[in-house]
Structure formats: C-alpha cells, structure tokens
C-alpha cells in the first residue's frame, strides 16, 4: 500500500488515458506528461500504461507500508526517501515504513511542474471503462473518482514487488533533455492548423505564431488559458458542437486562446485555430503556470515524424532498461 500523508495536493491517479468512451461523453483524462508516466513504468519493468500518481502541487509525501520498488519521473522535485536524497528518473527501493518526500520542482535544466510516482506492478485501483485514470467530472475512476486526500491508501498490484539485484539502481535521461524544443529560448510546441484557422485575421495569425504566450493562473488539467495578443476572426463565427481532443486551441469571444488539456470536455463549440500535436502535449503539460510557450506551425508530415521520434524514445528506453534488468 501507499499511504498519502499530504493534505490538499491535487494529486490524482492517472494512466495513459481512457479511450473508446467518447460516444458517451467521457473524455480521455490520463497523464499530462505521458512520456514521464511511461518512462517511470519502463524503469520498473511495468506495462507502460500502469497506473501512477500524478503530483502537480508540492510538497507531497507518501509512506510505503510494504517493501516497494518505485520511480519518480517528470519534474526533478528533490525527492528524498526518509533523509536520503534520491536521483530523479531512477528505479529505487523502499522498505516498509519509509516516507517519500517530494519538494518544489527545481527550475534549472528543465522548467517542469508535474511529477509521477510509479510503483512496481502499478497502482491496483479498479479499472473503469477500461482505464484507471481519474475522471473528475464524472467522479469515477482512479481512486474513488477524486483527487487524493491525506489518509488515502492505494493498493499496489503484485504487492509492491521489490526489484531484486538488477530491478533497481538504473535511470533514464529525461526526454526534455534529449529532445529539446525551443524558439528564441522559449519552450515550444508544434501546432497543426484546425478548421477555423483561415477565418482569423492575418494579424491574429501572425501574432499567434510569433509571440510568446503566457500560461495564466487559470490553467489546469481541463485547459490552459493563455494571455497575449487578442486573436480575432474576420467575422463572427457560428459553431455547432463537435468532437475535440486534448491540444485543441479554442478562441472564445474574449480573443484569448484556451488549449484544451487532458480533462477537457470531449466536445466543443468555440472556433479552433489549431491543435497542439499529440507528440508535444507532454511539453505543454509540464510548462509551469506563469511560464511562456511558443507555437511552431507544423505540416502533417512533420507531426507524423514527431510522433515517430517519441515512439523511438520509448522503444530505446524499453530496450536498454530490459537489457539492464535481465
């Protein structure tokens, strides 16, 4: 078991998301940084989509009630096991009774905002509609369909297997360092234009691509509200409700864009300027409130290539870790 010691940390149980339920109005949810969640699972020999805890607010503390192998990926949050500092993106062993403490994310080599606590075997919460991700709006999935509270106890599948001699003691270079993406020193994500792209003024489109956009404090798992130039359509746009996905950039009448994130509604009725490509959503999911982001216009081919790169990172990580663990 993992016992939550922190109060009000907004932490939730997530996996790689819930698919196949859009027809009932159920969005995908899932980790804001899926590469970090998959990376932590790879380090422990888990299925990539094993359930973990997503931690967006720090400090955060848990106690292991049994011996357990675990990894903390995503932001480097000065993790300590009791008093011992831990390497980030590393497979560690905990003994029963030890306390894991995650501090404020360091903002040095990579400005990141979310950490993932993965455990060997994954968290053993019930799967609902095929996924262990928390569906906050519908109040189901994850742990009781809500954010974690002090005193919650989460079971670990396979009873917290300890890795053994070669099951722990290795790590991965975070993809933010091996696959950086920036424009003029500002973290960037690639965007494919969406259906209403050509309905915006030339000045708006120029501003969209050339300016840094600030991630305001009204940003969370549902959506990132950005502030910057006012984006305007050439004329009023009447929209019908239609399916959307995480990454869709909507522009409501106020002229400030909102990027739909993992807990966004699966449908929308606002004009869409573009969509952040799936392969770059993890970058945005890690961008801290108050930081800036730039948008890079991508072609379909470039977006497909970006996806290939992300897949290759996962494949190489899996191959090297499996060799090490065997």
């Amino acid at each position: 078991m993992i016992e939550i010691l922190s109060a009000s940390a907004l932490a939730t149980v997530q996996d790689l998301g819930r698919t196949g339920a859009l027809q009932w109005g159920v969005g995908t949810s899932g980790a804001m940084d899926p590469l970090a969640l998959a990376g932590g699972n790879i380090l422990l020999g888990n299925d990539e989509g094993a359930a973990a805890i997503e931690v967006p607010v720090f400090p955060f503390q848990v106690r292991f009630t049994e011996d357990c192998s675990f990894a903390v990926t995503g932001a480097d949050c000065a993790a300590r096991l009791d008093d011992m500092p831990l390497l980030p993106w590393w497979a560690h062993e905990a003994h029963a009774g030890q306390v894991l403490h995650l501090g404020l994310p360091r903002q040095g080599h990579w400005r990141a905002s979310r950490a993932y606590l993965c455990v060997a075997g994954g968290l053993d919460v019930p799967a609902v509609l095929g996924s262990r991700s928390t569906q906050l709006r519908g109040a189901f999935g994850g742990h009781e369909g809500r954010a974690l509270r002090q005193g919650d106890r989460l079971p670990v599948a396979g009873g917290c297997a300890v890795g053994g001699r070669r099951g722990t003691g290795h790590g991965l270079v975070p993809p933010a360092l091996s696959m950086p993406l920036q424009v003029d020193g500002v973290p960037a994500v690639r965007v494919l234009p969406a259906a209403e792209y050509t309905l915006f003024t030339d000045a708006s489109l120029a501003a969209f691509w050339s300016e840094p956009w600030k991630i305001t404090a009204q940003s969370d798992r549902y959506g990132y509200r950005l502030s910057g130039a006012r984006l305007e359509p050439k004329a009023d746009i009447e929209m019908r409700s239609h399916g959307i996905v995480p990454g869709v950039i909507q522009v409501p009448s106020g002229g400030q864009p909102i990027v739909q994130m993992r807990d966004a509604q699966p449908t929308g009725g606002y004009p869409k300027l573009g969509t952040v490509i799936d392969a770059d959503l993890w970058r945005l999911g890690q961008a801290p409130i108050g930081s800036h982001v730039r948008f890079i216009e991508a072609t379909w081919d470039e977006a497909v290539t970006a996806q290939d790169h992300a897949s290759r990172w996962l494949d190489e990580a899996r191959r090297l870790v499996e060799l090490q663990r065997s």
């Binding site: 109005g25 509609l129 189901f140 009447e238 409700s241 959307i244 699966p266 490509i277």
Partner: protein
C-alpha cells in the same frame, strides 16, 4: 466548407473532423449516424463520435498520408443512406425558473417573451437525441424552438449542478453532473444520465427522444 460540400479537417494527429453542409437537421444527423457505423469499423479508426451534424474520427493510429482517408470518407458520405434510429421516449419533469433557473431573466431579456411563453415553447417539442458529448451522459438535442434561442453567456458560470436545463444559442440540453457552463440555465430536472457500472454506461443514446414536462413554474 462550401454550401453543399462537407468539410474535412484535422484535430492534430489524433483525430479527423468531418462536417456535413447545410443547416442542422435530423435527416442529416441520421446520415451521420450511418456514417459513424460504417467508418467506426475502419482499422485506423478507434472510435467514430457523432456531433451536431458532424463526425469526429478518433484515430487508433496516425495515417502517413491524409489524402486516402479523406477520399474514402467523402465517398462513404456520398453513398450513405440515413439510419433512422428509433429509440425510447423519455419524459423529464422540470421545475422552471426561480433558484432552479438562475438565467431565466436573461432569456426573457433576449427574447422579449414572458416566462410562461418561454416555458411553453421549451416544453412543447419532442427533442431527438442527436449525440452524446460534453461530459459523461450529456445529450445534445435537436428540435428547440428558435424563438427562445439565447446566445451563450460571455462569462461562463463556474459550476451549474447536474440536472440543470439550459439554452445555449439555438440548442438546449440537461447537465448530467456538476460543472462549468456557458449556457443559460432555465430549470432543473432529476434524472440519472450516467452510471459507469452499467453497460452501456449512458442511460440515453442517439435515436432516443426527450420531452420536458412542466412540473412547476416559479416566476
């Protein structure tokens, strides 16, 4: 999208959006249901999700080249026949106005109608369920009287309760759970729209019909 050809666009690399031309109609929606049934079986499509006279294809894997799937989609649409789903009639008793309808005054202000006229026009039609979306169990309905259409609010409300009956533009709907909304809430009903333990988990589906019954009007 021109007046009579459908529009095809991408939602990043994870989904495609197909929009039928013309005004929003049940007949067109029946063709969308048929298209969803056909396209949902394609190997690259994880799920075909109807919207209001449109269809989103959630992709299982990203095609290298878009031209092929776009051509197949347009061809399928050209040949598709309407799928006239006939489901159940579900009647929902509604308390209109008062605390249950905090934005009734805004609908009155926009339309120039009285509360009773608004309630009468809202509770008369049969509303076909076009699609589910927005949040678990939520139904997009067609058939609202255009005389009570009221634009979405400039500033969305942070949380309206499950059961809230609202008008957004020319559409109406019932919230299935507490959450934010930019629509104008005119009443409240008690109904469970979603249970994750059931199969299927949504209590209503495309092809069903809703009628609102006037339980009470608070002026």
């Amino acid at each position: 999208m021109t007046a009579d050809t459908p529009s095809f666009s991408v939602l990043g690399t994870s989904a495609l959006l197909f929009e039928a031309p013309g005004s929003t109609e049940l007949k067109t929606q029946q063709r969308i249901w048929a298209l969803a049934a056909e396209v949902g079986a394609w190997p690259e499509v994880r799920e075909a999700v109807p919207g209001m006279n449109n269809l989103m294809l959630s992709l299982a894997h990203t095609p290298r080249h878009l031209g092929d799937i776009e051509a197949r989609l347009r061809s399928a649409w050209a040949d598709i026949h309407a799928l006239p789903l006939q489901g159940r009639l579900v009647e929902l008793p509604v308390v209109y106005g008062g605390a249950a309808g905090p934005h009734m005054a805004d609908v009155v202000g926009h339309t120039g109608l009285t509360v009773d006229e608004i309630v009468e026009r809202h509770s008369s039609p049969l509303y076909p369920v076009y699609a589910l979306g927005s949040h678990p169990g939520y139904c997009y309905l067609g058939g609202m009287d255009p005389r009570i259409a009221t634009p979405r609010r400039r500033v969305p409300v942070l949380s309206i309760p499950g059961g809230a009956v609202s008008i957004g533009g020319s559409q109406t709907g019932v919230s299935a759970s507490d959450g934010p909304s930019g629509w104008n809430t005119i009443g409240s009903t008690a109904m469970c729209f979603f249970d994750p333990k059931r199969h299927p988990p949504a209590l209503l589906q495309p092809g069903d019909t809703i009628r609102f019954l006037v339980e009470k009007v608070i002026r």
